[in-house]
Symmetry: C2
Subunit: 239 residues, 2 copies
DNA sequence: CGTTCGTTTGAACGACCTCAACGATCGTGG
DNA sequence: CCACGATCGTTGAGGTCGTTCAAACGAACG
C-alpha cells in the first residue's frame, strides 16, 4: 500500500526495517477520491495527515475573482499535508486532480512515532523542507521564466519525481490532467498553455496528449527549462 | 541578543522559561555582514543554522542570464536557514539586503536540543512550515496577482511580520531596500516596480521613500492586495 | 445522436518589458 | 565649499508576451 512512500524516502535516506515497520504501525485508514474533489479545505482543524498512494493531487489557493493558483503537485508516495502535523490547519486547499487513494496518519500516532524515533522526525521534517524547496523553484519559475520555459520545467520536475516511485521513464509518463489544471499550476491561461505545449511539440521536445507525456528529447527540454534537479535533493543525505 | 526570536515564537506558541534557556544554550557565535553580502551559497555543505537578529535578509536563486528571483525575505527573529538542519545544504543562496547581524546555531546543538525537547523540535518544524506557507503565498502572487496587487501584498506581509518583533507600526516601518531589490522579490523589472509604487502613492495607500514605508491607508492597501494574514498563522496554536 | 468537456485557433487588447535618458541624493576629494 | 562620480529613482516611447473574447473542433458518453 505505501511502498511508494518508502521508495521516496530511500531515494534520499537510509531507512531500517525497524523504522519502516514503525511507520507502518502509525498508519490509519485509507480513503479514495474521484478526480477534482477538494479533500482538505483551508482553515479546517486537522488531526490527521494524508499520505498520497495513488493519483496526482495539488495544493491550491483562490483569489476572489475565482482565479486559482496551484502551488505544488503531489505524486504517489508524497505526504500531501504533513504540514498539518505542526500547523494544525492549512492555509490552502488540497484537491485530487486525478482519482486518488490516500492513507490517513493520525497526528497522535505521528507524535508518538517521531518522539520514539527522532530520526524519523527529522526525515519527515526533511520532507516538508523539500516541499518548501519545490515552492521556491516555482517562485523562480513564476517570477522569471517565460511561459515555454516554465511549462518545460514543470514536466522536467514531474519526470524526476515520478520516476523515483516507478511512475515515469526517461521517455515519458502517464499524466491525466487537463490543460486547465496545468494552467493553474503555471500561472498562465489555458489558452496560452495550449500554445506553449504546441511550441514544445513543434520544437521536437515533448508531446502531451491523451493523458500521456511523451519526452522526445529530455536533454533538450531540460535545457529550455534551465532545469537543475539539485533542488530535489536526490543525492543520499546522511541524517 | 535573540529577544526578537522569542517574540516571534511567542506570537504563535507558548514557550516556557526552561525551553527558552535551552534554546539560549544552543547558541553559537555571532556574525555581522555588510549589505548585499551573500553569506550562504547554494550547494555548500553546512553544519550550522543562521538566526537573523538584525537587518533584512533574502533567499534567492539566479537564472543563467543573471536575472535573479528572491523567494523569501527574512526579518529579525527569523531562522534564516533552519532548513539546512535537515537538508545539510541549500538549493538557494542567502544574502544580506541591509547590514545584518546573525547568530549561528551548530547543527549538533540543534540535534541535542530537539531530542531533549521534542516540542521545541516541533516548534522549529512549524517555523520551516511557515516559510513554506509564505512561499505558497508568493507563488500565488507571482502567478495570479497584478504588479500593483503583488507589490501591495509584499508590504502588507512585511508590516505584519515586522510588527511581531517590534519593527513596525500600523502606519509604517523602516525598510532600507532599493527598488532593484524589491523588483527581485516581486518578479518584475525595477522600472515597473517604480511605476507600481507611484500608483500606490497616488492612490493614497502608501509611500516608499528614503528607506521608509509610510502606510497612509493600511486597510485600503490590504484590499488592493487581497491580503489575508491567515497564512502567517498568527492565532496561538497548541502544540 | 445530442451533450459535455477539453482542445485548438484567430484577432485584438493590455500589462509589463526594453532601451534610453534625465534627475536627485550623497559621499568623497580637491 | 564646490565639483565630481556613483548610486538610486523617475519618466518616456515603443515593443513583446501573454490575455481576453469568441468560435470551431474533437472525443467520450449516456
Amino acid at each position: 500500500m505505501i511502498e511508494s512512500h518508502f521508495a521516496r524516502i530511500r531515494a534520499r535516506h537510509a531507512l531500517s526495517t525497524e523504522e519502516e515497520s514503525a511507520i507502518r504501525d502509525a498508519m490509519g485508514p485509507s480513503r479514495a477520491f474521484d478526480a477534482h474533489h477538494t479533500f482538505i479545505e483551508a482553515g479546517t482543524p486537522l488531526n490527521v495527515s494524508v499520505l498520497l498512494v495513488e493519483g496526482i493531487a495539488g495544493r491550491y489557493k483562490d483569489l476572489s475573482d475565482g482565479r486559482r493558483q496551484i502551488t505544488e503537485l503531489h505524486v504517489p508516495g508524497d505526504f500531501a499535508d504533513l504540514h498539518s502535523f505542526t500547523l494544525k490547519q492549512l492555509d490552502h486547499n488540497l484537491i485530487s486532480l486525478t482519482p486518488c487513494r490516500v492513507v490517513l496518519f493520525p497526528h497522535s500516532n505521528l507524535t508518538e512515532l517521531t518522539e520514539r524515533y527522532p530520526r524519523i522526525g527529522r526525515l519527515y521534517w526533511f520532507a516538508t523542507n523539500l516541499d518548501a524547496a519545490i515552492h521556491r523553484e516555482w517562485v523562480l519559475s513564476m517570477g522569471r521564466r517565460t511561459a515555454i520555459a516554465r511549462t518545460a520545467h514543470l514536466f522536467c520536475e514531474l519526470q524526476v519525481r515520478l520516476s523515483l516511485v516507478g511512475r515515469a521513464e526517461a521517455d515519458g509518463f502517464d499524466f491525466k490532467l487537463s490543460q486547465v489544471d496545468l494552467s493553474e499550476c503555471l500561472g498562465l491561461t489555458d489558452v496560452h498553455v495550449n500554445r506553449s505545449l504546441r511550441r514544445l511539440r513543434e520544437a521536437g521536445l515533448m508531446t502531451f496528449r491523451g493523458g500521456r507525456v511523451t519526452l522526445h528529447d529530455l536533454d533538450g527540454l531540460r535545457e529550455v527549462a534551465e532545469f537543475d534537479p539539485s533542488y530535489l535533493y536526490l543525492a543520499p543525505h546522511p541524517l
